[in-house]
Subunit: 354 residues, 5 copies
C-alpha cells in the first residue's frame, strides 16, 4: 500500500520556476519518442536529442512527442527553450507530486494528472505522474518511466483509424486521457471484485482476517479515490475551457471524459458504501454470535447454581438435620434437582432466552 506522505518535498520557498526534480527516480535515462502522423503518413521513431523533436513543430502533421524520465534538467531546459514554454510548466512537469490540473498558457495548454496502471501478472498497481502539453501541432507527454497504458492508442494510430489520424493533436489528447480514465475504471473494478468476493464469507464467518481484509480494501479504495477525485475537478475545468488549442467540434469528447470520470467516481462511491455495509454486517454477525454464546453459557451456569446450593446444604455437618436420615432423601433430592432443571429450562425456553 502506498503511503500517503511523500518523502521528497520540493524545497520550501524554492522559486516556482526552478527546475528541480521532485519524486522517486524511476528510470536512469531519458527516452524520447516521436509519433508523427496525418491522413497519409505515419512515422514512429525513437530520437536521441530534443532538437530532432523541435523540428517537428513546424510541420502541419500531428506530432506526439513522448518523454520517459523527468529528472534530466538539461533535457527539460532544451524542451522549454525549443517549444518556447514558460519555465513554470516544466517546473510543474518535474514535480511529480503536483496536484492534477489544467492551465492554459499563451502558446499551449498544460494538463497534469496521475496515471494508474495495473501489472497484469503481479496485480500490483503502480502510479506515476503524467503531464501533457498541447500546442497547435504537437502533443508532448511526460512520463516518469517507460511503460504506459497508451499502447492501444498507438495501435489505433498504426492501424490508421480514421477518426484519430484526421483529428489533430487535441483529439490525441482526448484519446490519451480517455485511456487513462478507462484504466481508473478497470482498476476500480478489480478492487471491486475482491470486495464483492468477501460478501459470501461475511454472514457466518467471524474470523478476524475478514475485518483485516475489509480494512485493507478500504485503504486501497481511499488511495484510489484520493487520486481520482482531483482528476474529476480537472476534467470539469477542461470540459468548460474555451481554449484555442481545442477544436470546438472535439469539445464534445471532453464532455464525454467527464461522464467517464463521473462513472468512476460513482463506482468508487458504491464500493465505499458496500465496504461500510460489510463492516456493519461483520460487527453484527460477531456480536450476534457472542450474544448466542454468552446466553447459552449463562443459562447453563444458572441452572447449576441452585442445584449446587442444594447439594451444599446437605453437605453441612449439623448434628440435627432430619432429611439426612430418611431412607429416600437422596433420591428425593436428585428428583427435586431434575424438577428444578426442567422448570428452569421451560421458563427460559418460554422467555426465548436460548
Amino acid at each position: 500500500m502506498a503511503r500517503f506522505i511523500r518523502k521528497h518535498h520540493r524545497e520550501i520557498g524554492a522559486s516556482p520556476d526552478d527546475f528541480i526534480f521532485v519524486g522517486d527516480k524511476k528510470t536512469d535515462h531519458v527516452t524520447l519518442r516521436i509519433i508523427d502522423y496525418d491522413k497519409n503518413n505515419l512515422e514512429e521513431i525513437q530520437i536521441n536529442t530534443v532538437e530532432e523533436a523541435i523540428a517537428y513543430q513546424e510541420k502541419k502533421t500531428t506530432t506526439w512527442f513522448n518523454v520517459d524520465g523527468l529528472d534530466t534538467i538539461d533535457v527539460m531546459r532544451k524542451i522549454a527553450g525549443g517549444f518556447a514554454l514558460d519555465n513554470f510548466i516544466l517546473a510543474d512537469v518535474m514535480d511529480t507530486h503536483v496536484r492534477p490540473k489544467v492551465q492554459e498558457y499563451d502558446n499551449c495548454l498544460f494538463v497534469s494528472l496521475k496515471m494508474l496502471q495495473v501489472d497484469n501478472e503481479s496485480h500490483l498497481i503502480s502510479f506515476e505522474n503524467l503531464s501533457l502539453i498541447l500546442t497547435k501541432t504537437v502533443l508532448i507527454s511526460f512520463q516518469e518511466k517507460k511503460g504506459d497504458v497508451f499502447e492501444p492508442v498507438r495501435d489505433r494510430i498504426r492501424k490508421q483509424k480514421k477518426r484519430l489520424i484526421t483529428s489533430g493533436p487535441d483529439y490525441l489528447l482526448f484519446a490519451l486521457l480517455d485511456v487513462v480514465i478507462d484504466n481508473y475504471i478497470y482498476i476500480l473494478s478489480i478492487l471491486g471484485e475482491k470486495i464483492e468476493s468477501l460478501e459470501d464469507n461475511l454472514l457466518h464467518n467471524t474470523e478476524k482476517r475478514i475485518i483485516d481484509s475489509i480494512n485493507v480494501h478500504k485503504r486501497e479504495l481511499n488511495f484510489l479515490r484520493k487520486h481520482i477525485h482531483p482528476v474529476r475537478e480537472m476534467l470539469l475545468t477542461l470540459a468548460k475551457i474555451d481554449s484555442d488549442f481545442i477544436n470546438p467540434k472535439n469539445s464534445v469528447h471532453f464532455k464525454e471524459l467527464q461522464n467517464n470520470i463521473d462513472h468512476a467516481s460513482e463506482i468508487s462511491d458504491s464500493y465505499r458504501e458496500i465496504l461500510s455495509d460489510q463492516l456493519n454486517i461483520y460487527h453484527t454477525t460477531v456480536s450476534t454470535k457472542l450474544n448466542e454464546i454468552m446466553r447459552f453459557l449463562t443459562v447453563f451456569s444458572v441452572i447449576f447454581i441452585p442445584l449446587t446450593f442444594i447439594a451444599g446444604i446437605y453437605g453441612t455437618n449439623f448434628d440435627v438435620l432430619p432429611e439426612l436420615h430418611y431412607k429416600y432423601s437422596y433420591f428425593i433430592m436428585l428428583g427435586v434437582m431434575v424438577l428444578i432443571t426442567i422448570v428452569m429450562l421451560i421458563y427460559f425456553k418460554k422467555k426465548k432466552w436460548f
Copy 2:
C-alpha cells in the same frame, strides 16, 4: 441481486466510435418495429430490413422506430448510415454499461438511461439499457431485448389519444421517459411495502433473519438508487436543454419529468432513512433484551452466592464448630438464608435492577 461489477468491459483504449457490443447478449436476433402515425393515420408493422425504416424518415408523420437487440453490428451500421448518425451515438447505444446521459448533435438528440421492469409473476426486477434518438420526425428506441414497459403508450397511440397523436416525436419521447420513470416509482413502492411490512416484527422480535432482511433490502435499495440517481442528473440537463428537436410548448412536460424523478428520489431517501432507523431499532431491541437476560441471570446468581457460602462453612470438618451441635442450628441456617434472599430481593427491586 445484481452484482455491481460488470463482467464485460469495453476494451480499454478502443476507439470511442468503434461498433463493439458490450454487455450480456439478451436476444438472438434483432426485431425491428415501426409505429407511424399522425392525426389521421396509424400504421404499426414489424419490418425486416433497416432500409424500410429509413424510408419513413422523409414522411411528415411521427415515426417510432423500435429496435430490440443491440449486438448486430451490421444493423447498427445501416442505421447510422441511413439516419446519418454520428458513429459515437451508435457506439454508445451498443455499450449497455454507458452512464445515463443526454447529448445534442447536429441532426438529433441522444438520450440514454436504464429501464427497470418488474415481472408481475416472479417479482424479479430486470433492467436493461434504453437508448432514444430523436430527430425531427423519427424517434428511434433501442432495447436490449423484446418486452418493454411501453405497452400503455402504444395503446394510447392505437386508441388515437389526441394529445399524443397530434404532438410529434418529442412528445412521444416524453411519453416513453414518463412511463420509464413511473416504473421506477412503482418498483420503489414494491420494495417499500416489503420494508414497511418488517416494521411490526421489529420491536419484539430479535431473530437474526430480520437483520438479514434489512440488509437485503438495503442492498436492493442501493441498487435502485444507483440507477435512478444519474437519471435525475440526465433529466435536469434535458429539462434545461434548448434543443431544436423539442417544441418549446412541450418543454413543460420535460420539467414535469424532473418533478417525477425528484419524487422517486425522495421516496428512495425516505426508505433509506426507514431502513437505517429499523437497523437502529433492531439493535436497540436486541441489546435491551440481552440486558434484561443478563440482569436477571446475574441477580439470580448473586442471590445464591452467599447462601452457598454459608452452606460451605457448615460443611467444614472442624472439631470445634459450636453451631453444628445446637438442635435448631439447621433450621436457623435455613431461616437466615431465606432472610438474606428476601433482603437482597428487596434491595435489588428498590434499585430497579430487575
Copy 3:
C-alpha cells in the same frame, strides 16, 4: 402514523392529461362555494353548478371559488372548460399524490401543496392535497374534503380587513398559503412539546417505553419533514417567479412566506437534533446503569469466591488435616474470611471499582 406508501397509484403510462382521480375518496359529493369581494361589496354563497362560478370570471371583483371533493370527473371537465384551463392542470389537481409544485401557464398560475390540519379534540393530524389556481380575477382552490384551515382568512374578508379586500386574488393566494404554513409551524410545535416533555424522564429512567416514544416521535417528525421539505422548494420558486398574475408590490409577501417555511424547517431540524441527542442520552443512561449493576454484582461475587474456596478446603475429608483439630481453628477461619473481605473492599474502593 400514516404509511409512506400510497396504495393508489396513477395507472402507469396513463396519459398525463387524463382525468383520473388518484387517492382515497374523502367525501361523497362536491361542494362549490364562492366568496366574491372588492372594496365595497362582499358576497358569500354556496352554488350548485360550475356554470355559476364561471360567470364571476368576467367581474372585476376578486372571486374565491372553493371546490371540496376531487373525484367528480364531470365537474372537473366543466371547470377546465369554463376557465379555459389546460387539461394537465386538472389532471394534477385530481392526483392527490402529486409533489408540491408551482407552474405558470399562459392564463393562470398553478400551485399545489399539502395542507396539514390538527383536530383540536382528537389531536390527530390529517393531511390533504391543496391545489390553487390563480387567474387575473379568480382564485380557485381545490380540497379533498370539506373542512379546512382557512376560516381565519374568511373571517378577515367578512370583517372587511382593508389590506385583504383591496389587494386582489394574488394577495388572497398569499393569505391562504400563509395560513397553511402557520399550521405547519403549529403542528411542529405540538410535536415539539411532546418531545421536550420526554427530557425530564431521560436522565434516570431506563424503561423501554422511552425509546419507543423517541422512535415514534422520530417517525412523526420524518413524516412532517417529508411534507414540508418540498413545499420549501416550491415557495423558493414562487418567490422568484416573475409572473403576470402576481402584482409586483405583493411579491414581498411571497418572500415572507419563504422566511416562514425556513423557520418551520429550522424548527424541525432542531427537533431532529434533540431527538438524536435524546437517543444518545438514553443509550448512555442505559449503559451507565448496566455498568453500575454489573460492577456491583461482579465485585460482590468476587468477594465470595475465595471465602467459599477456604470453606471448601476445610470441608475435605483428609485423614490428616491438622487445622481441623485445633480448638480455635473455626474462629480463626471466620476471622481470616472477614479480613480477606475487608482487604478486598479496600482494594476495590481504592481502585474506584464500585
Copy 4:
C-alpha cells in the same frame, strides 16, 4: 435552559399587518430615548411622546431613536404614522419570534435579529429581539426591555469619536450590529472556557456528571447556534444589498460584519467538534475502565474455579477414596493448588490478559 418552543404564537391566520404583540412582556411601560448628533452637536434626552421623535426626522443630523418595550399598540401606531412606515414592519417589530431578516422598503431598511446578553454577575444569558429601522437620517431601534449591549456605542458618541459622529445613521447601524455580534463571540467564548475546562477530567474520570455536563454544554451550544445561524444568512443579504440607505463607502463595514459572524460560526463549529470528541473520549475511557475491571475479576474467578473443584472432590464421602488416607495428601493438595495458580497466572500474563 430556554425551551425551544415558544408558548405565545401569533394567532394563526391573523393578518400579517395587524399590530399584535407576540412574546413575553418584559417591561411595563415604553421608554423613548433620543440621541441626536452631528460633527458639532450632541443631544441625548429621554422623551415622553412619539411626536417629539418624529420632529427630529426633518433635521439633517443623525438621530438614534431608541424604543424599549414593544407591547403598547398605541405607540407603535404613532411611530408607523409619524415615520410613514408600512404596517408590516411594525407588525414584525412586535412579533418577538420573527426570524432574523433584512428587508428593504421604499423609505427605509428594516433589520431584525436576536440580541444575546450575558449578566456579568449571575452569568445567565438573556436574549431579546432587536429591530432596527434605518431611514435617511434616523435609526430607530426597538428592544423588548430596558438594558442593552449598546452602552459602548453611546460612549463613543458621547466622546465624539470622529468616525462615528461624521458617518451618518448607516454607520450607526453598523456600529450597533457590530457590538451585537461581538457579544455573540463573547458568549461563545464563555461557554468555550467551560467546555475546555472539562478536558482535564476527561481522560481518567468516569463519573456520570461529566457526561451530564457535556450534554448540558451541547444543548447550550445548540441554543446559541440556533440563534446565530440565521443572523449569518441575514448579514449575507445585508452585505450584498444595494440599498439607498447605505452609503457605498460604508458598505465595506457590512462586509466586515460578515467576517465577524463567520468567525462566530467557526468558533461554534469548533466547540461542537470538541464536544463530540469529548463524548467519544468519555465513552472510550468508561469502556476501557470497564474492560480492565471485568478482565481482572474474570481472571480472579477463573483461578479459583479449579481450586474449589479440587477441594470439592476431596469433600466427597466415598468409602473408598485412597488419597484421603495418605499422610501428606492435604499438603500435596495445597501444593498442587499453588502450582495451578502459578501456571494460570503465567499463562494469563503471557497472553496479556491482565
Copy 5:
C-alpha cells in the same frame, strides 16, 4: 496544544478603527527592516524610524518593508500616516485574532493570514498572525515577532533570481504567500508521519496510550484545519479579485496558490479519514481481544460447573447414598468427569466457541 479560546479580546464595542493591540505580546520592541530591489540594485538594511521606510515609497524599485512587533501604537500611527492607510487596516493588523481575509482599498490591498512555523529542534509548532499590505511599489509585512519562514525568499532576492527581482511587489506577495502555504503542507506532512507510524501498532496492540495518541493527533489536526480552512476561502477571493495592485500576468500565480492550499486541504482530509479509520480499527481490535478472553474464560468456567456440582452431590451426608459405598465409585466419578469435560470441549470446538 494551543487552546481554542483566546484570552485577550478586543474590548466589545470598541471603535473598529481604534489602535488597540490584541494578543500575547511576543517581542519587546519593534524591528523595522527594508529590502529594496530592482533588476540592477539590491539594498537590505535595518532602519530605526518609520520615516526612513516612507521615503522608499517614491522610488520605482520594489520595496519590502517588514515590521516585527505589533504592539507599539506610535509606530502604527506613523505607518498609517506615512503610507496614507485607512485606520481600519492597521486596527486589523494589531488584532492578532482577526480572521484571515483579503480586502481591497483605494490605495492598497490588505491580506491577513496565520503563519505556521515548526521549530526544527523542539518540533513545536508556533503560529502568529501575518498581515501584508500591498501598494503600487511597496509590500509591508507585519509579524508578531522576529523570526519567520521567509528566509528562502530573501535568499532568492539576494541571489538575484530573475523572476523575482523583475516582477514587482505583487510577485513578492505571491512568493511570501507561497512559502507560508508550503509550510502548512510541510507541517501537515510531519503530523502525517506521526499518524502513519501508529499504523503498525494498531492491529495487535490494545494499550490505552494508542488511543491517547490518536486523540492527540486528532486535536492537532483539527487545530491545523481550523487555521488552514479560512485561508482557503481567503485565497479563493484573492485569486478572483480584479485588483489594480496585481499585474494580470501574475494572476496565474495566485491561482497556483489556490491549487496548493487545496492540496493542503486534501492532505488534511486524508489524515482526518485515516485517524477516524484508526480509531475504528483500535476499537475493533480491543473488542475482538475482549471477546476472545471472555469466551475462553466463560468456556473454562462452564466446564467446571457440572464437575463441581457432581462433587457437591457426593459431599452430602445422607444416611442412604448407595454410590458412596461401592468400591470403584470414586474412580467412576473421576471417569465421568473426564468424559463430561471431553464431550463439552468437543461440543464447544464444533460450535467454534473458542
